[in-house]
Structures are given as C-alpha cells and as structure tokens.
C-alpha cells in the first residue's frame, strides 16, 4: 500500500534556528513528490516538486531534497512567518494519467521570535 509518513508531527524552533522536516514514502513507481505549505483555515499552497533521487529545489529559506525512500525539507534561519503546517504528498502511479496525491499528516512548524 502506498504510504507517506512525516516526522516530527510538531516542531518548535527559535527564530534563526535551522532544522529539517522528514517525509518517508512507500510507493510503487514514484511519479513526483510535492511539498505544500498550509496555513490555518487555508488550502495547501504549492512549494516544490521533486521527481528523481538526488534532485534539490530551493526557495528563499527552504530547500527540498529527495532520495529513493525519503525527502527532507530544510529550513535555514527560519522566521516567525515560516510558521505553518508543511505537507508532503506523492503522486500515485495508478489510476490513469492524472495521478491523485497521497498526503502525509504534515509537520506543524512554530517559529518563535
């Protein structure tokens, strides 16, 4: 069964304290791994797509990396505005050409000033 597991469930950081969020996945034939940010009461906001092991993407203080079994979202010198829930999702290989997303439970990040 295709699965996505994120850890930790919650992470509290001081402003400027760098850290990493983990996303482990089990899927037969990865088509894409996605990172989204979700603020309270809002929908997931797209951050990155990764397709193959070794790939890296960066955006401001965020950097996403991918191996054959997991992905990391590295946050460098976070600011309070980075506080949000970060969701990892994989694109299912079955179901035709579209591919619905399978989500993890997310990591709730709190950054204190």
């Amino acid at each position: 069964e295709d699965q996505v597991t994120q850890s930790p469930e919650a992470l509290r950081l001081q402003e400027g304290e760098s850290s990493s969020l983990n996303c482990s996945y089990t899927v037969s034939g990865l088509r894409g791994l996605f990172w989204y940010r979700q603020d309270p009461g809002k929908g997931p906001e797209f951050l990155f797509t990764l397709y193959s092991a070794g790939e890296e993407k960066e955006k401001e203080r965020l950097k996403a990396t991918l191996t054959k079994k997991e992905s990391f979202l590295h946050i460098t010198a976070p600011k309070p505005e980075d506080s949000a829930t970060y969701l990892c999702a994989v694109q299912a290989p079955r179901g035709g050409s579209q591919g619905n997303l399978i989500f993890g439970k997310g990591t709730k990040l709190s950054v204190k000033p």
Binding site: G41, G43, T49, G95, L101, K105
Partner: protein
C-alpha cells in the same frame, strides 16, 4: 495570480440533507480534483475529473457523492444525504496537465448537525 476559488467557505447542514459544494478552477486547467480533510487527519483524495467524466475515485466516494462540471467554469461536489462523518474541510484542486503541481482552493468547511 490566478486562484482556485471555493464557495461557500462554511456550510452547516442537517444530517440527511443534500449539500452542493462549488469550485471555480483556474481557467485554463483541465484536470480537477476533490479532497477532504477531517479535523486532525490527512488530506484524502476523493475523486478526479477530466474531459467531463470521472477518472478515478477513492473508496470514500460512494453512491452518496457525485461531481459535475455544469458549465465552462464551475466544478461541483454533491453529497446526496449527508452523514455526521461527512463533516470535514473539502478542497478543490486543479492543474493544466498531470506533470504540473495541483493548485488548491481554500476549502469549504462542512459541518453536519
């Protein structure tokens, strides 16, 4: 920047009543999805829609659920006879092609009394 819009933001309905959730996907997108998120749980795939027909549906999407694209802009999710366990956030998502990330609306919070 174009957005996926969903209405209403909050819907309160008596158990057994029909409810229709509405979405306006991004205008040049061709693939449409509904997901739901029960409080404290993962975002779960419900159904995908392309070329005016359902492409894939999950086990959650039983005979009580239906989707429709009644015109060139709207995409609706109907629940025929709501149950208490249908209470959740419902997200609409779309993308132009399966190799692009899905973009989400801010959801409709459905509360069944």
């Amino acid at each position: 920047e174009p957005e996926v819009t969903q209405t209403p933001s909050h819907q309160v309905t008596q158990m057994g009543q029909e409810v229709i959730l509405r979405c306006v996907p991004i205008s040049n997108h061709l693939y449409f999805y509904w997901y739901r998120q029960i409080l404290g749980q993962k975002v779960e795939f419900l159904v995908s829609f392309y070329n005016n027909e359902i492409s894939e549906k999950s086990e959650i999407f039983d005979d009580q659920f239906s989707v429709e694209r009644p015109d060139g802009s709207n995409f609706t999710l109907k629940i025929r006879s709501t149950k208490l366990e249908d209470s959740a956030m419902y997200f609409c998502a779309s993308h132009r092609d399966p190799n692009q990330p899905q973009h989400f609306g801010d959801g409709t919070r459905l509360s069944i009394l």
